[in-house]
Every structure is written in C-alpha cells, then in structure tokens.
C-alpha cells in the first residue's frame, strides 16, 4: 500500500492503519502512531504525515482522514 509505505519511510517506527472509506481508492482514513509525535502538537503531527506523503494530500489524495497519536 503506497500511503503506508510512504509514511513508514519517513516514520520507520510508525504503526499505520489504513482504511479505504469509500472503496474508490480516493477516500482513506489513516491512523498513525509513532514515537516521533511525542511532545508535538496535533498540527505538527499531521504536518509530519503530510510531509511524508510529499504533496499528495490535497492533490492526488483528495480525502485522507488522519488521526495521529504518540507511541509510548
């Protein structure tokens, strides 16, 4: 899965769970849990994932519903 691979490339320890919401290959939900999120605000955490997906969110990926959490 391309999204998962890209996120793992940037955040190697991340637990990534992707759900295909609509079954159309265009609306996904991603849950990302990583140690790298510790001490970061939600905005910073989401930006790290958007950066990992280098420009795809908002473009090719119209809808990626994102949830992030720091890993203990």
């Amino acid at each position: 899965m391309e999204i998962e691979k890209a996120i793992r490339a940037a955040l190697p320890d991340a637990d990534v769970t992707i759900t295909d919401l609509a079954g159309d290959g265009d609306h996904y939900a991603a849950m990302v849990v990583s140690k790298a999120f510790k001490g970061k605000t939600r905005v910073q955490q989401h930006k790290m994932v958007y950066d990992a997906l280098s420009g795809r969110v908002g473009g090719q990926l119209h809808a990626l519903s994102l949830q992030t959490a720091p890993k203990d």
Partner: protein, 111 residues
C-alpha cells in the same frame, strides 16, 4: 515570502476571532469535511466568519501556502491555526474544543 493574497489572508485572520476557510458556505457547504466543521461550531454556538475558497482561486491556493497546510477546511482562532477537519473533530469529541475556545475568550452560546 509575503504576497498580496497572503496579506489579504493575514488581515482577515487578524480581524476575525473565529475564521473558517471552507468550500461553500455554512448554509450550503460543498464538501463533507467543511460541513463537519460548520456543524461542530454551530453545535457549540460559536459565531464565526466563513471564507468560501471556491469563490476565490487566489485564496484557495494562498491559504494552503499561508498555513503550510494542504487541505481545506482550515480553522483559525484569534490568529492561531487550529487545524483541519480531523483535528477539530478530534478536539470536539474529546471535549477539548470548548475549553480551547473559552480560554481564548470566545463565547459559546450553547455551553
């Protein structure tokens, strides 16, 4: 880098306590994510100003650069970028959003 459209956005952000950049209008949202944020703000009874990015291509692109955030909607409170739909929803569901708004002196009519 400051551009005329960034200046327009900065002015709007400074002049409106709660400002939502969205697709469509609060009454007729054109995207489910924008609709979700409108619904949350309405539920809390927060007065906000909405900017319809579909009516202004410059703002639609400019706001993404201004916030360094790739998607719309985007919520600003007292000049601070709060997040997009996912973050606003998560804050609301965890009961953090009303605290966040009250702490910044925003009136919640339904609190």
């Amino acid at each position: 880098m400051s551009t005329p459209v960034h200046d327009r956005i900065a002015k709007d952000v400074a002049e409106n306590e709660v400002l939502l950049f969205m697709k469509g209008t609060p009454v007729f949202p054109q995207c489910g994510f924008s609709a979700a944020v409108v619904q949350i703000l309405s539920e809390l009874g927060v007065k906000f100003k909405a900017v319809d990015v579909l009516k202004d291509a410059e703002i639609r692109q400019g706001i993404k650069e201004f916030s360094n955030w790739p998607t719309i909607p985007q919520l600003y409170v007292k000049g601070e970028f709060v997040g997009g739909c996912d973050i606003v929803k998560e804050m609301f569901e965890q009961g953090e959003l009303d605290t966040f708004l009250s702490e910044r002196g925003i009136t919640l009519q339904n609190a």
